[in-house]
Amino acid sequence: MLEARRKHAKFLFLFIFPAFIVYTVFMLLPILNSMKYSLYTGEGLIPNEFVGLDNYIRLFTEERYYVKFWNAFQNNIQFFIIVTVVQNVLGFFMAVLISRTFKGSGFIRKLSFLPTTLSVLVVGYIFKLILNPYYGVFDKFIEMIGLEQLIIPWLGDPRSAIYVVAIAVSWQFFGESVLFYTSGIDGISDSIIEAAQIDGANIWQEIYHIILPSVLPIVGIVTILIFIGDFTQFDIIFAMTGTRGDPNYSTDLFGSLFYRTAFSSPERGGWGTGMGATVATMMFIIVTIGVGVFLTFFTKKKEELEK
């Protein structure tokens, strides 16, 4: 390693500067500036008058704002729980299976990541088309096996819509968690597993005492990534239920709430730049708190399991 003396300081600057400036000006500063805009009125595009915390007070006391905000909050939590369970629990067990050697395991590994490469938008539209009540293959299939009394308008019913949307996202990113978990399981040394098997451990004991502790950091990473992704998710809502989170806002998430309030005209649900920035700041706070909570939880859990 080279001691950066004065002679080299200019290179240091030259090398770091381009990345530093683009990253700062177009990624980190915009987030801080958006927080600043939340303290201004902004009926049109440009924020103008300083109003302090007025936007926040209005967001939580005026019915037309807080009803939508808390609705998005609840939907988002529901959405996050479904996706987390599918991707972590199902994904983990699938990874345990896939990490065994069997004929075709390489193919399965390759195939399982395929949906993740598609755009969220495309996945949303595919599911929407497959579930369409008139020509969708899903209902046709259910009719074929004689269960037509179970058919409901999947995306048209406020009770089922959020589940359908969450399942579409889970389908897409399932392979990503499987990939993360299999690579964690592959990293466990064979001798540990063999020793356990000789000691007569069954598969559940093996999972609980050996596999789980060693992939726990990955559970943390996967959960945090899902959390950040889900609390800013927008594309799937745009594709499947529109920017109002139809039917009747039952699939409105923070991502679609932010898009609508910040970038739509008032007739289409826009709240102006100031309120839009307030929503963005609240999202930032929620994401930061969430990530903090998960980080603490998984660090603690890991220490416990290692004892």
């Binding site: 770091i16 177009f26 915009p30 987030i31 399965i108 395929l114 993740t116 595919i126 990939l179």
Partner: protein, 276 residues
């Protein structure tokens, strides 16, 4: 014992079979339907297309200007990823190979971007693009995408550069090679796999990005593929084969690139996960 094992094996294969179908069927339905006529879709949604009908694709390229959207997407992706990887490699080089007071702090500063949702700064980004007079141009997207790709690229390249032995650059330095020369002639050839990995991992999110075109692009001639997919989808409500062709066209490039380079994706992503 033998019977039990055979049962377990069959269970494993059955699970894998169902799992594969759950991935393949939706994609298969998408591609297949794009080659059907509307009448066939309604009459026989499961059947294979009776004739190989490419009207939908011809329609998209001739009437809807799909070729242009592809060129836009390719241009934006190539420019933003190559700029991001170059800038990140220089920064990662400086942080990992020169010893100064703030190495660690600057590294952390860059890597914070891995968990910060850039979407939340969109209002300010939009205003900045208006001020720079590049709102509604592809340049606006390119700049944002460079910023987005920097954290992951620095994260990946830092390790690759760290592994390059210092003796090589010291020897070059003694021979009178300049600092930029050392980077260009010694470091960059050695970290080619790292440069490729950084570019490839950022490729998928970059190619599929929909939010920023939706906010920053208004003119049709500047649409990227995801924006075109989002905007054209609604227009063809009654022409189902066109709808499915739009989706297929958006997916084919990523699927091909993934199948060609899947080992890189898998290696790059799982290394990141395990290292955490």
């Amino acid at each position: 014992m033998k019977v039990k094992r055979a049962v377990a094996r069959s269970g494993l294969y059955l699970t894998m079979f169902i799992y594969s179908l759950s991935i393949i069927i939706p994609l298969f339905v998408m591609f297949m339907t794009s080659f059907k006529t509307n009448a066939q879709i309604f009459k026989n949604p499961f059947g294979l297309p009776t004739s190989f009908n490419i009207d939908a694709y011809v329609n998209l390229f001739v009437i809807s200007n799909y070729g242009k959207y592809f060129l836009n997407s390719i241009g934006v992706t190539v420019l933003s990823l190559s700029a991001a990887v170059t800038m990140s490699a220089l920064a990662a080089y400086a942080i990992s190979k020169y010893k100064f007071k703030y190495n660690r702090a600057i590294y952390v500063y860059f890597v914070i971007g891995l968990v910060v949702p850039i979407k939340l700064g969109t209002i300010d980004i939009m205003i900045t693009m208006l001020n720079l007079k590049i709102f509604d141009t592809l340049w606006a997207l390119i700049i944002v995408y460079i910023a987005m790709a920097i954290p992951l690229s620095v994260f990946v390249l830092y390790d690759y550069i760290k592994m390059v032995p210092d003796e090589l650059s010291s020897a070059a330095r003694i021979d009178g090679c300049s600092e930029p020369g050392i980077f260009a002639r010694i470091i960059s050839p050695l970290i080619k796999p790292g440069l490729a990995a950084a570019g490839i991992i950022s490729f998928i999110p970059n190619w599929n990005e929909f939010w920023f075109p939706l906010v920053l692009i208004k003119s049709r001639e500047n649409y990227t593929i995801p924006l075109a997919t989002g905007q054209l989808f609604g227009q063809f409500d009654t022409k189902l084969n066109l709808v499915f062709a739009v989706l297929s066209l958006a997916s084919i490039p990523v699927i091909i690139i993934y199948l060609l380079l899947s080992n890189y994706f898998v290696k790059g992503l799982s290394a990141g996960a395990v290292k955490g």
